[in-house]
Symmetry: C2
Subunit: 552 residues, 2 copies
């Protein structure tokens, strides 16, 4: 049975009931249909006894798939089965990959969050509100330039790009303002995908409305003719942009197939943005449940690093345990097996590909965190292959648990759940990767050497120029959000396993003063994906009775 | 007190209660927050006894304002006070004017629909779903061309434009696909405002999901190198676009300040699109209430003409009565008074400007419909001025009612409500303006001569070429959607009153096969507005407590 069919067969609990079980009052939620709700913040008088945080991350993704969301959901359902008060904090899917190739982000099989169609499509409108707010700001900038340009904005140095929540390569590089003097000032421009936008980062990091407005106000949209940064506050439209985000900042409540409450909010990609669900979402779960299972995007080199170095300081809490998801198939691919040969048993390839898993485990241990490995079982996996990974983990001092959450839901991760509970009770001391006073170059150097396993970093001509500028402007101690391919620990997607001897190439920075970090673009990573030759859109249908088919 | 303050002081009824009073069961609605709901179609077993339809339209708008939505809401509240089972069908506001100049579209004073902030901002996400669906289709088209172009689409002849729900003049004319071979095929392109998009027309005219899909499938997105039209069905993505609109086709339920149920759905502008709320919305009200008060955009030359010639045939019902809204101030401006001299009494100017009102009254009578005039009172209006209009109307065989709905709500329109009830009981015979078999040129000629009062129509070189093509393709008998300035009966915004001796200039057609009509662009009308020097956005704020200020 397909994921969507399993999801459609499920009898969901009315969202008011889910909210009640989570400890939310009727006043604290706003229903969006019968099975979704927005949570009104701040919450009052909820005090769980434990507040344990579990971060689920993964090895580098391969075309074979890892099922990180599936494990996250299955683990939470397993914790519920063990009578632990548990909630899930996840990111919202982007329409781009849903219509393109990757599909949605609601788990799979019997470990899904539902209603999967709504979550994967418009959900409660957060992505669209962000798109509208982002592009309203863009229109206000171009209008300012067109209407006399009182601030003296250099139209060649506007860095605020428009966005769409669509994989649209034709919008990567455009020229706007054509058509003569009544249609604006011509300039080169480009569109990013919404999940890469600074406003997305802002709603994911804001602590309250005042903080939201402060962050919006200090966004740098470009530079004047004499190279001074221009902010949204200077444009005088901070309030309007904040108003457009007034509902988007509220976390969304849904449920798993087993009715575990799940908060899904914010959706930055981990390769081009900071890759974590919102501080609001995680905090809501921490405030309501004893155990919060949360997820960071792509591999631990991207999502988890950003969770620990960017999100955790704002959240004011580091994880009590880390779960790293791996699959036999993905390790085989890391060990050099091609996609069509994945079904044949190949213990040697598993052993070779294990290098990737080991590196990610070591990276998380480097932060001083207890690490568990979840082996997400596929039907083709053999016992010999699974045992090999468990042995290798054992040798390295980690424990790997075979999970069968796709087929069995929470019942497929009970052992892992018990280990997570045990790990959470240990006392840990978090060791940050870099100090907040480290300069940008040092921060990147530390990420490259200690997390990626590279030899160092090389700054391209544009990045070098920008670094000079950042030092002048006092932006040189901001945290760094690396934009890098998700497929490798390096910035070259073809280097699998645990490569060494490589250098990371930073070609350009995008300063995001509202988010509070600098994005470093490495290799040839793009902030606007394209669609494949046969996009997923071609397989999607709506029956005359209103049933959705072909959504993944 | 400002409109937003009046709205924020109102105690709204929970939307479930409003739905119940409207006759909807719990299963028939999906709540979006506490005060908005989507209505699930089709409705079953509702059979009101009357099914009367009242169309509210207006004279040509002026900067003085007419308050058509305010009168629509006030009239409905008055009908409720008279114990008539009444509902309202309105369009959804566009964010563009909300952030720009015109403001929202939720009425004013004590005649508003609420929650006004939500309705004027993202509401239930329909505009955003349309934007996403429109731009997903655009990305799929450019991707098709980029990935081998199997259908042989001529990139110079793609007519499917991208949209944003924002006044963004810099996007009117753009070049996309720049940046080299990995970023698509370069071509000239442009963005329209979402409310002008064909998908907006489609959700406003679709009868059910099957019809929605048929309409999407036959959209012509451009032409091949040998000049053959290419449809969405040929691209194979009809299902995906329909899925993105699955919730947007459901009408939205809200309430007036006096708790009259209001359905707000679909938002095409009347100057560049067909200007009426959805068939779903109007039909829902007709199915539930005895009296449905609905509104068409801008003046009767645009909104009402399109209601009667485009929407009514799909709806299968014509209005039982028409209310034309006018104000002393707007008639004065039509009589040549400048905006800053509006406050001084000027009966002569009122008399001169009356020509505009008379023309619109005659136009509606031409369709065989009973017409009533609503004079929307402003505090500066003098009795002499109001009486003059009433006298002039009387002489022409119409009755004009002074309404004070801004200050008094429904109590300000009781006389009008009684007259509307009386008018609805008369038997009328609808006389269509043109026959469905008339050719395009004839249809336009009839609109220009009989509605606008012009001498005829002149087709520009591009339009002439297109007409030849349309005759070949068999599109020559489609209805016509005129895109024309709203400020004049002519295509020249400066000709006020009831001009004569003018010609309408059709410069270009946009064929909309999914909507089922041809858009005729006249004069210099634009399908993407711009922002003013001081946009409304600059006065909008969100307090730290989450209260919105400065929204109109």
């Amino acid at each position: 049975m397909k994921d969507i069919e399993i999801a459609q067969k499920c009898t969901m609990e009315p969202i008011g009931e889910v909210a009640k079980r989570a400890g939310l009052t009727e006043d604290e939620i706003d229903q969006y249909g019968k099975y979704k709700a927005k949570i009104s913040l701040p919450l009052k008088d909820h005090e769980p006894t434990k507040r344990k945080l579990v971060l689920v991350t993964a090895i580098n993704p391969t075309p074979a798939g890892e099922g990180k969301s599936t494990v996250t959901v299955g683990l939470a359902d397993a914790m519920q089965l063990r009578n632990k008060k548990t909630m899930i904090a996840l990111r919202e899917p982007s329409l781009g990959p849903v219509m393109g190739m990757k599909g949605g982000a609601t788990g799979g099989g019997y470990s899904q969050v539902v209603p999967m169609e709504d979550i994967n499509l418009h959900f409660t409108g957060d992505m669209h509100a962000l798109t509208a707010a982002n592009n309203t700001l863009a229109a206000l900038i171009d209008n300012h330039i067109h209407q006399g340009n009182q601030l003296g904005i250099d139209q060649r140095r506007v860095i605020w790009k428009r966005v769409v929540d669509i994989n649209d390569r034709a919008l990567r590089h455009v020229v706007v303002g054509l058509g003569g003097p009544t249609s604006g000032v011509p300039r080169e421009d480009g569109f990013d995908i919404t999940v890469a936008s600074e406003l997305m980062a802002i709603i994911c990091l804001a602590k309250d409305i005042a903080d939201l407005k402060n962050r919006i106000g200090r966004i740098v949209i470009g530079y004047t003719f004499d190279r001074q940064p221009v902010t949204v506050d200077q444009l005088g439209v901070t309030g309007a942009i904040a108003v457009l985000l007034k509902d988007a900042i509220k976390p969304n409540l849904v449920q798993t197939l087993a009715h575990t409450p799940a908060v899904i909010h914010g959706g930055p990609f981990a390769n081009i943005a900071h890759g974590c669900n919102s501080v609001f979402a995680t905090k809501t779960c921490l405030d309501l449940a004893d155990y919060t299972i949360t997820e960071a995007g792509f591999g631990a080199d991207l999502g988890a690093e950003k969770f620990l170095d960017i999100k955790a300081p704002v959240l004011g809490k580091t994880p009590d345990a880390v779960v790293i998801v791996a699959t036999v198939r993905a390790l085989k691919m890391n060990g050099g097996v091609s996609k069509k040969e994945l079904d044949a048993e190949n213990v040697a390839a598993v052993e070779q590909g294990y290098a990737n898993l080991r590196k990610h485990v070591q990276n998380m241990q480097r932060y001083g965190l207890p690490v568990l490995v979840a082996l997400n079982r596929f039907v083709q996996d053999t016992d010999a292959e699974l045992q090999k990974i468990q042995e290798l983990c054992e040798q390295d001092g980690t424990k790997a648990f075979v999970c069968d959450v796709w087929a069995k839901g929470g019942n497929g991760a009970l052992e892992l759940a018990d280990a997570v509970v045990e790990a959470c009770d240990k006392k840990t001391e978090f060791k940050p990767l870099y100090g907040s006073d480290d300069e940008v170059e040092v921060k990147i150097e530390k990420i490259v050497r200690e997390i990626y396993g590279g030899d160092g970093v090389e700054f391209g001509p544009k990045a070098k120029k920008q670094l000079v500028q950042f030092h002048k402007l006092g932006w040189d101690k901001l945290p760094v959000c690396m934009a890098k391919t998700q497929f490798s620990l390096s910035d070259d997607a073809s280097l699998l396993g645990a490569p060494t001897g490589f250098t990371i190439h930073v070609r350009e920075f995008v300063p995001k003063l509202g988010a509070g970090f600098l994005v470093a673009l490495t290799g040839n990573v793009l902030t606007m994906p394209g669609l494949p030759k046969v996009p997923a859109a071609m397989g999607i249908n709506l029956t005359d009775e209103g049933v959705i088919e072909g959504l993944y």
